[in-house]
Symmetry: C2
């Protein structure tokens, strides 16, 4: 228990509803009061991810004034990604191994971080957590440490500076198995999360997101608590 | 006339409908095919600024597929600015001279730039223009050159890099009088622009935005073509 005279500072956590951001939330919850931000962008599984976000926010008893749900559907209008353009196919992990996958949403994470910084500035938060993974990931340019270092400089130069705001990427160097282990140790509600790029009822098990998740659980020797079509 | 075998490259221009972005558009139009992006954010004069944007886009004969109108009304929900929070007063220039004005919208320009980069990546644009003014301005942190230099690094590290995208801030070191002169020389349609923070019919003439604009015209010795309440 924290004593009453040492209020904890606030962290804004970007929470998609997926496993990585759920574990990131569990990590942030150890040291901060949570402010959870969900950003939908017109992706195929938006409704399912939002439901997962709400379940995770309920699990951590985040009060209404520190939950923010935002839609940036213009990213879908801008297009350029199979996650938002229904005329493009989401390729399975086995089909799509030539550089950056077609699920890449151009500059998505910068759009999300910018919203997070705006909110953090108004809340007076000290940290902005994002569950980006560089090592065991899909190769998106905006999931690399060098990108977050550059964004920190944008925050340092582009905000009011009444207090310093720090980007925290606790998973950036972890493998998916490490993430599964960390989440399990911290009691993160992984059963509430959603990762599949294609389906909203049972996870497909074959898209790159399902593949990375399943491999993580397998390597960690832990059973994935969500349901799969082909299980 | 450009010859048929030298197609010009595309520039995305952030176009609010105000004077600075109108002059920026005129500058970009000399060297690029225009793609005009308007971002509303729940500000008081949103409808009037959008009308100005459309007039300017028509003036430059920008085709429909290279116009994008986006609303990021979540900045109004996040609050923290008198431009979006109707419970706060927009202070007149004479009242508000203690540091950063209360019209500052937290991290607004990073949100706008991020949308511009997403669109530029899909369009294959080579440049992203924004009419930020550092010298003769309101002192917003996200209008300073150091902020745009930092954001350039975010673009360099966070995009696909099929082509390099450069941020261009042609007004950053200009005074408002310089901007009025440049716009006049380039034939920019300043009569179509809207700058007032408070009103949508006739400009108030007393908010900080009107004050900066009127002083620019006065110093340049040019008559402002828009109407003012107190004229």
């Amino acid at each position: 228990m924290m004593s009453a005279d040492s209020p904890r500072s606030i962290a804004v956590v970007l929470a998609s509803g997926g496993m990585d951001s759920c574990v990131t939330t569990a990590i942030a919850a150890r040291d901060y009061e949570l402010a959870l931000l969900h950003v939908g962008y017109g992706q195929r599984t938006e409704a399912r991810e939002l439901a997962a976000f709400r379940g995770i926010a309920d699990h951590y008893r985040v009060p209404a004034e520190r939950r923010l749900e935002v839609s940036i559907e213009h990213l879908a209008r801008i297009g350029g990604s199979s996650l938002t353009d229904m005329r493009m196919d989401v390729l399975d992990a086995s089909e799509d191994n030539t550089g950056i996958p077609n699920t890449y949403v151009p500059f998505r994470n910068a759009n999300m971080l910018s919203i997070g910084v705006s909110w953090a500035e108004v809340l007076g938060a000290d940290a902005l957590f994002i569950g980006a993974v560089e090592e065991d990931s899909s190769g998106y340019p905006d999931c690399r440490k060098v990108f977050y270092d550059a964004f920190q400089s944008v925050i340092d130069t582009g905000t009011k500076h009444e207090r310093a705001l720090r980007i925290v990427t606790p998973l950036i160097e972890l493998s998916k198995a490490d993430i599964v282990r960390a989440g399990t140790e911290l009691g993160a509600p992984l059963h509430l999360t959603w990762s599949c790029y294609k389906r909203e009822d049972l996870a497909c098990g074959v898209c790159e997101s399902c593949m990375l998740r399943l491999r993580g659980f397998r390597v960690a020797g832990i059973e994935d608590p969500i349901g799969y079509v082909n299980a």
